[in-house]
């Protein structure tokens, strides 16, 4: 599930950049009000322009904002596409959970037809070699177990 915990890819950097409340606030304001200069962004805060600049640098390195190269104003621009990508990424996590719960649905459905025989089985195991072998057959029969489940529920 979390084998990729320590990869330092662009998207992880984006998530990490947003772990700071000031940076999240900066992003929220850019999203609401559009492009703004560092000075404009720093105005409401009780910190120096330099400190806000530092936060913006982190956001920039993470690809969340960009600075236009022309003119002295150099307004900060929010990169909306990166946020779409982040949403997509959380959606991957959600789908992974969904897959797991889909398997649980099948186990629950199968339990209805076998509940009389497994009801007494204990929940304490020492070194038992239970494996997921045979899970595939549960999938294939899910159509019929669905009917059994619905019949039982009524």
């Amino acid at each position: 599930m979390i084998k990729g915990l320590f990869v330092t890819d662009p998207l992880s950097r984006a998530f990490a950049a947003l772990a700071d409340p000031t940076r999240r606030d900066l992003v929220a304001r850019l999203a609401a009000d559009g492009d703004a200069t560092v000075g404009e962004l720093a105005a409401p805060y009780d910190v120096s322009v330099q400190a806000v600049s530092k936060h913006l640098k982190v956001l920039e390195d993470a690809g969340l904002v960009s600075r236009t190269r022309d003119a002295q104003r150099r307004p900060v621009h929010l990169e909306a596409e990166v946020f779409d990508l982040m949403t997509a990424w959380i959606e991957r996590y959600r789908r992974e959970a969904e897959e797991r719960f889909g398997r649980l649905d099948e186990v629950l459905a199968a339990m209805v037809s076998t509940s009389s025989t497994t009801e007494s089985s204990g929940s304490t195991t020492e070194g038992a070699g239970s494996t997921t072998e045979g899970a595939g057959s549960t999938t294939e029969s899910s159509g019929s177990t669905t009917e059994i489940r619905e019949g039982e529920a009524s």
């Binding site: 915990l5 998530f15 649980l104 929940s123 304490t124 997921t132």
Partner: protein, 162 residues
């Protein structure tokens, strides 16, 4: 007429706390869902992806008990372990969760089972980790698994069944 495919998983990441909330409904009463969660023979059938063999090494699903299992595929294996902090049948399950990849990391997982009408139930899981940074990395890890597990194949399979 309820079909299992209508039970969508909801994920919420709190903006200010290192927490992941997960909510899902099941077409089964809390007793049965709780049993699928605590009976090791049932648990191994759904916890891991189909391509991974899950082997339970320790499993004492009582308050104060411990658990450990290994997931393996080909030459790769990963151990997961923790304690059963509280086992309140059909209502509440509190566990700690650690894994070989980050042995100093620990997540506190609280699962509540709430009965719904028609013999159904809603589970709400709350995972608390050490920092927002770690939480976000966990959320981001979905991509890695997705690629490894070949979601494309799964998509094909699902499309064929539809």
């Amino acid at each position: 007429m309820s079909r299992t495919t209508t039970n969508q998983t909801r994920i919420e990441a709190d903006p200010d706390l290192p927490v992941i909330r997960i909510v899902r409904e099941f077409d089964a009463p809390p007793e049965r869902v709780f049993r699928a969660w605590t009976d090791p023979e049932l648990f191994v059938q759904w916890i891991g992806p189909r391509s991974i063999d899950t082997t339970i090494e320790r499993w004492d699903a009582r308050t104060g008990g411990e658990w450990r299992y290994t997931g393996s595929r080909d030459d790769f294996s990963m151990g997961f372990w923790g304690s059963f902090h509280e086992v309140r049948p059909s209502e509440r399950l509190v566990q700690t969760f650690s894994f070989d990849g980050a042995p100093d990391g620990v997540s506190l997982e609280t699962m509540t089972f709430e009965p719904l009408e028609g013999g159904r139930c809603r589970i709400t899981g709350v995972s608390v980790v050490e920092s927002l940074e770690i939480r976000d990395r966990i959320l981001a890890s979905g991509m890695d698994v997705g690629v490894n597990e070949g979601y494309e194949k799964l998509d094909e399979l699902l499309a064929r069944d539809a």
